[in-house]
Amino acid sequence: MLARDQQSELRHTPLHALHLARGGKMVSFAGYEMPVQYSTGVLREHLHVRKSAGLFDVSHMGQIALRPKSGKIEDAARALERLVPQDILAIAPGRQRYAQFTNEAGGILDDLMVANFGDHLFLVVNAACKADDEAHLRAGLSDVCVIEPLTERALIALQGLKAESVLAKLCADVAAMKFMDSGRRRIDGVDCFVSRSGYTGEDGFEISVPAERVETLAEALLADSAVLPIGLGARDSLRLEAGLCLYGHDIDTTTTPVESALEWSIQKSRRTSGARAGGFAGADRILPQLENGASRRRVGLRPEGRTPVREGSSLFADVISPEAIGTVTSGGFGPSLNAPVAMGYLPSSHAATGSVVFAEVRGQRLPTRVGAMPFVPSTYKR
């Protein structure tokens, strides 16, 4: 429970009143007071997203416009490539791509989405990192870009099997969108930025809305009987089953994109012998790892018993050795799998799918199998 004086320092999103009205159990998250669950509860909220649709408030996340001073989008894209190992130049108008800000040591400062909006780039970054990200962008790109935090916009995510049919009632255009399409759409008469993406492993949309219009839009979506509001608790279990990283837990400044098993997100053009190889922070560490692999790797973990294995548990090669070989970075219970599920780091020698390691929980070493991610197949509309 939070003390009252602590609570008053927490920021509210424009949907705060809606959360309270819907029985949101409010907790502190990244400086915001956010609903960890509603009266439905984490388990049913999670299952509801996979079989129907759920609405998430992610307004605490940072939305930033990068506007090229020259007016040429390529200049902004080239400039951003100094800070991320992704091919930004190749993002077509109306498309978005997953990226990471890296540091000189090759570690990850934050992970983000980058969309090409034709005349500028639109970025969505993590709430806990947004102030640092803005400073990082200003320090790195101010010569080429105007960095504009879009603080007057809210962000909501509609996710799940029925997300398309629900949203299409308010905006017929969205049905034609494919996974990672992103751009301006009019929803229920409001100018929004809509992307077909999310962080649950399900098909769905993220919708950036002017803050003063978000409550009306959220209520319109929740008026559909297919939609329930979903809190951070289910957001966490959904993304864990989908094998998606939580910044500050599964990835951070000490993990490189290759150690984090995110090399799929680094295009050929930025790798050794690519058209624009390197030229980003930490390239001297990341490029060799892309060629030769890293000594450790983020893996999915499926505990063999029923005991949830949680963040911070040490991983061992067997039941007797005193030295841990790895650590669990996220873990809990996967409602769709009806089983415990986790992810963590292991030496590459133990990281192959199917290898068995032992997770220590309350003094006991529990057999845990390295499992392929996503644990629950994703349903993206490609």
């Binding site: 669950q37 999670h46 608790g233 966490d236 029923r306 949830p308």
Partner: protein, 121 residues
């Protein structure tokens, strides 16, 4: 039979020299959906305030402490197969374990139902 409560949201039903122990309805409402329960071994001798059982929701693990000292006589194996019983019937079918009361004076500090209601108000 008397029912007593702890400030950690456990209940004890006292029947002679046996105490049946569970978590309260208030506790389950705070925990959320229970997905896993770990119970003590029968025959284990618990000291008051020692971690005795673990109740886990999707999000977190919570320890259940022995409210009094005593030997574990019986555990509720039904919870292993159906942890959600704690959400549906915390005060009844979802009892956790039974203790042979070692020291009756340890019961003195516990709350009755009226005091516990005040505690959670």
């Amino acid at each position: 039979m008397t029912t007593l409560f702890t400030s950690d949201h456990e209940w004890l039903r006292i029947d002679g020299d046996v105490a049946t122990i569970g978590v309260t309805d208030y506790a389950q409402s705070q925990l959320g959906d229970v997905v896993f329960v770990e119970l003590p071994k029968v025959g284990r001798s618990l000291k008051k305030a020692e971690a005795a059982a673990v109740v886990e929701s999707v999000k977190a693990a919570s320890d259940v402490y022995a409210p009094i000292s005593g030997e574990v006589l019986e555990v509720n194996d039904a919870l292993t197969a159906e942890p959600a019983l704690i959400n549906s019937d915390a005060g009844g079918k979802a009892w956790l374990f039974k203790l042979k009361i070692a020291d009756r004076s340890e019961l003195d500090g516990l709350m009755d139902e009226a005091a516990y209601s005040k505690h959670t108000a």
